[in-house]
């Protein structure tokens, strides 16, 4: 707990803590992370690849949304969609890729509780403001042994701070495209009580990158976030907290469509409204020095509603409603049952309820889980961590996820970490519940795995609706979750008090990827599809990063990731000489070899960043200069073989330069910044990147000092 406070003061407001940059650096190394083990551990002591971004870095980088800051981290990439529909571009918003795994396979937590509301597998991270967060914790590699579904590529945990002083902060930012971001936060502490209020409004008029196509690239939007956290400590041993979060976004959609009957172009307009509300009461009791137990309840409801109507006769053109609710009760007990052994044991029950016009009726999945983790410090140098989790539910097959990690402190400066564990992801709603017939395009049908059985097909065949049932239909069953086995091996080396380097090798073998396949033919020869566990893939690579404090005022961070990915079935087919490609222009067909295959789409082989942070505490100046690079990546197949192999199937790599400069005058701080200094744009592949973006912001912070300050 001591570290917790130290970090807090180091990272937040206190001026004195920053007078010695060396100590700041030391604190960064000693910062506490909870996500890696579900218990507070020093970042430098965790056995899995982990990363921490503190509030200071977020502020100096001028980030306002979670996407802003994550895209500058080593090995992380923000994936955008392909058209309008969400701030920052992308119909399904901006998700995060970790170790080459798609956004579907990353668990996103706020204060340890999962964020829900995936659209097309993606949680739109631009939904989340970073105006009031203490730090972002990133754990790479599978962590399903602690967190269950989705923790396959990694876990991102957004930690909301609990300021220990009375502070009022307000800020306003204005940028290109009339982008505005306003924050108000208030923290009050009195004896046993703590109150924290936070409010944010964010908006933009949107933009249009391609005037030749109808509609905007990003439609205008505005959103509000509010958070209230009340904590009460009746005694030293008992801690109670109650937090709520509410997010609402309205986006004004407007675009022309062509009428099927008259060929006329008719504008349609309407709103997309996203709402996200959560309530979390937590009770934590320290029974003895070695025993602590926490009970958490969590309610989260995500809702998306889009209604578009034609502007000529005001008739309804499109209606979409999607609501997901998660109710969960969880207990975690940490027991130091021996001097060298820490045991964490926990379990929970949850209900995941879906109500949408996309599928037939209300869907409900009940989840029960148990997890266990033991940390064994054999001596001062060697730590073993073993964990296992069992997830049981009603909608798909149950899953056991083990993990083993070893950390060895070779010298005071060098630590070696190796871990091996499994991850999984529950089948998504579409794969379970879809019931869709496309009578416009040939009349094919797709059934979610829980919507069709062999006997139902046989019944339909007797009724003459199905003409033939294929062998594959015999395999219709409860889907297995998509699963992975991940291996990580890395070192952390503290060269001296100014320089630290770390590197990590990783390999993820992904199995049971869900894909659709033909199960039958309808009377009109159109295929009937359902979902099966078919595909296998892997991602592997290496990551290296460093932090260097080269004077009291300058701090340098940098990182690089090399990545190889592939669909294993494609590799097998290439090896067997069964995969062909077609040359652009000439249409010449040739047999592909391994090195013509560029791997899974949307993955870059090389990603790098270099970030310089500056702070002159005395004169009140601070700033940053950040360079982010991403090499070319696969987009869409052009030659019909379904894989990425041709140059015209790859998007160009790019470099993004970002700069901020701030001046502090008394309690005010003015920041001017330019994002994407080189004005890089790629209309097709990066709709979320509107080009150069200057902005200016002003903030005011009023702190009433109290005793805690002297800690």
């Amino acid at each position: 707990m001591k570290y917790f406070f130290l970090l807090f003061i180091g990272a937040f407001f206190t001026k004195t803590a920053f007078s010695q940059m060396d100590s700041v650096f030391a604190k960064q190394m000693d910062a506490v992370i909870v996500t890696a083990t579900r218990t507070e551990r020093k970042l430098s002591n965790v056995a899995v690849p982990a990363q921490l971004i503190n509030n200071k870095i977020i502020q100096q980088s001028g980030s306002v949304r979670l996407t802003d800051i994550l895209q500058e981290q080593t090995g992380l990439f923000i994936t955008g969609g392909s058209s309008s529909g969400s701030p920052g571009g992308g119909i399904f918003g901006n998700g995060i890729q970790i170790q080459g795994l798609a956004p579907d396979y990353t668990l996103v937590l706020i204060d340890g509780e999962p964020v829900i509301g995936r659209q097309g597998g993606v949680i739109d991270l631009s939904r989340i403001t970073v105006g009031n967060i203490k730090q972002i914790e990133i754990v790479k590699g599978p962590s399903s042994s602690l967190y269950g579904s989705e923790a396959m590529g990694g876990v991102i945990n957004i930690i909301i701070g609990q300021p220990q002083k009375n502070v009022l902060t307000t800020s306003f930012r204005y940028g290109r495209f009339n982008e505005t971001d306003a924050n108000l936060s208030l923290a009050l502490n009195k004896k046993k009580w703590g109150l924290q209020f936070f409010g944010n409004r964010n908006g933009s008029q949107g933009y249009d990158l391609d005037k030749t196509t109808p509609g905007n690239t990003v439609d205008p939007y505005h959103n509000y976030t509010s958070q209230v956290k009340i904590s009460y400590k009746p005694s030293v041993k008992t801690q109670l907290s109650f937090s709520t979060r509410y997010f609402q976004q309205v986006q004004q959609n407007f675009y022309p469509v062509s009428d099927l009957n008259s060929s006329a172009i008719i504008p349609v307009s309407g709103n997309s409204i996203t709402k996200d509300i959560s309530i979390t009461p937590v009770l934590s009791q320290q029974f003895s020095k070695s025993l602590r137990s926490t009970v958490k309840f969590y309610f989260n409801r995500y809702q998306f509603r889009q209604e578009l109507s034609k502007q000529d006769d005001h008739s309804l053109y499109y209606y979409d409603f999607f609501q997901q609710s998660l109710i969960r009760a969880e207990n975690q007990t940490d027991w130091k049952w021996q001097k060298n052994n820490n045991l964490s044991i926990g379990g929970g029950i949850a209900a995941d309820i879906l109500n949408t016009n996309r599928y037939d009726g209300k869907k409900r999945d009940e989840i029960r889980y148990l997890f266990l983790q033991n940390e064994w410090k054999t001596n001062e140098r060697l730590i073993f961590i073993g964990g296992i989790r069992y997830d049981d539910n009603t909608a798909y097959q149950s899953k056991i996820s083990p993990k083993l990690a070893v950390s060895y402190k070779a010298t005071e400066r060098l630590r070696v970490n190796v871990s091996y564990g499994s991850g999984f992801k529950a089948p998504d709603f579409r794969q379970l519940y879809l019931n869709f017939s496309n009578d416009a395009a040939g009349g094919y049908m797709i059934y979610g795995a829980n919507e069709i059985t062999l006997s139902e097909l046989l019944k339909q065949q007797q009724q003459g609706l199905i003409s033939a049932i294929l062998q594959k239909a015999n395999q219709l069953a409860l889907l297995k979750p998509e699963s992975s086995k991940g291996f990580n091996a890395g070192i952390q080396y503290r060269v001296n008090n100014r320089l630290s380097i770390s590197s990590n090798l990783f390999r993820n073998d992904i199995d049971n990827l869900i894909q659709y396949d033909i199960i039958a033919y309808r009377g009109n020869n159109a295929p009937v599809y359902s979902y099966f566990n078919i595909d296998k893939a892997f991602t592997e690579g290496a990551e290296a990063s460093f932090q260097y404090l080269f004077s009291k005022k300058f701090f340098l961070q940098g990182g690089y990731q090399f990545l190889i990915t592939a669909d294993k079935n494609v590799l097998k087919q290439i090896k067997a000489g069964e995969v062909y490609a077609r040359e652009a222009g000439t249409n010449r067909v040739y047999k592909m070899n391994r090195w013509d295959y560029a791997g899974l789409p949307n993955r870059s082989a090389h990603m790098a960043n270099l970030k310089l942070f500056y702070e002159d505490e005395k004169r009140g100046w601070s700033g940053s200069f950040r360079i982010i690079y991403r090499s070319r990546w696969g987009t869409t197949d052009q030659d019909g073989n379904g894989i990425i192999n041709r140059r015209d199937e790859l998007a160009k790599g790019f470099l993004s330069l970002n700069v901020t400069l701030s001046k502090k005058i008394k309690d005010f701080k003015i920041q001017a910044a330019i994002e994407n200094l080189l004005n890089y744009k790629d209309v097709i592949n990066l709709p979320g990147q509107p080009g150069i973006q200057p902005y200016i912001s002003i903030s005011y912070s009023f702190t009433k000092k109290n005793k805690l300050h002297k800690l």
Binding site: S82, S258, D259, L260, S263, G442, Y444, S467, A468, Y521, R522, G523, N524, N525, A526, P527, E578, V579, Y580, A581, R582, N587, V589, Y590, K591, T636, D637, Q638, D639, G640, N641, G642
Partner: protein, 194 residues
Amino acid sequence: MKKKFISMVMITSVFCGILFFVSCKKDQNGKTITVISDTVKLNVNFSANSPYAFFSFKNNGIVNNVDSATGKWDFGIRLATFLVNSNASGPGNAGVILQNGIFDQIISAPATGYAYDTTSSRLAISDGSWYNYDMSTHSFIPKPGKVFIFRTADNHYAKMEIMKVEYEPFTGPVPRALDYTFRFVYQANGSTDF
């Protein structure tokens, strides 16, 4: 949508004889082989209610729709659906094998293994077997390395490769037709060698 319109539609097929060969060459046994080798652009109706475009390898040309019930044609296309002149589709003895390989390297047709249109809903060429549909551009992209080996309606052999499928230029929301560009080699002497 507009039935009157459809019934009046004649299949307008455009032929572009980009290359047209009737070549004679000798195989290893010294036997003369006569082949027709050509690249053809075929205009195919888009609507699932319109007639098929029928093609004959022997005549290297379109077969009029009134002959749809005869053995004059070898295959027909509508949208992305293939008919082969056999069983449910016609009186011919045609069949097809969709083989993986490079067109030029396939030098002979197999003796057996040809698929028929068993019923109108179980066709020899199943939907999606030879193309990828791109949802964003709505294009039909022929899979590379898919070679159609035909036994024709009158028991000759041909190999065929679809090179591209383009939309006939259109205004309004619904396209009228697709232009298929394919190349083929037809063995006129009845042997399986190309």
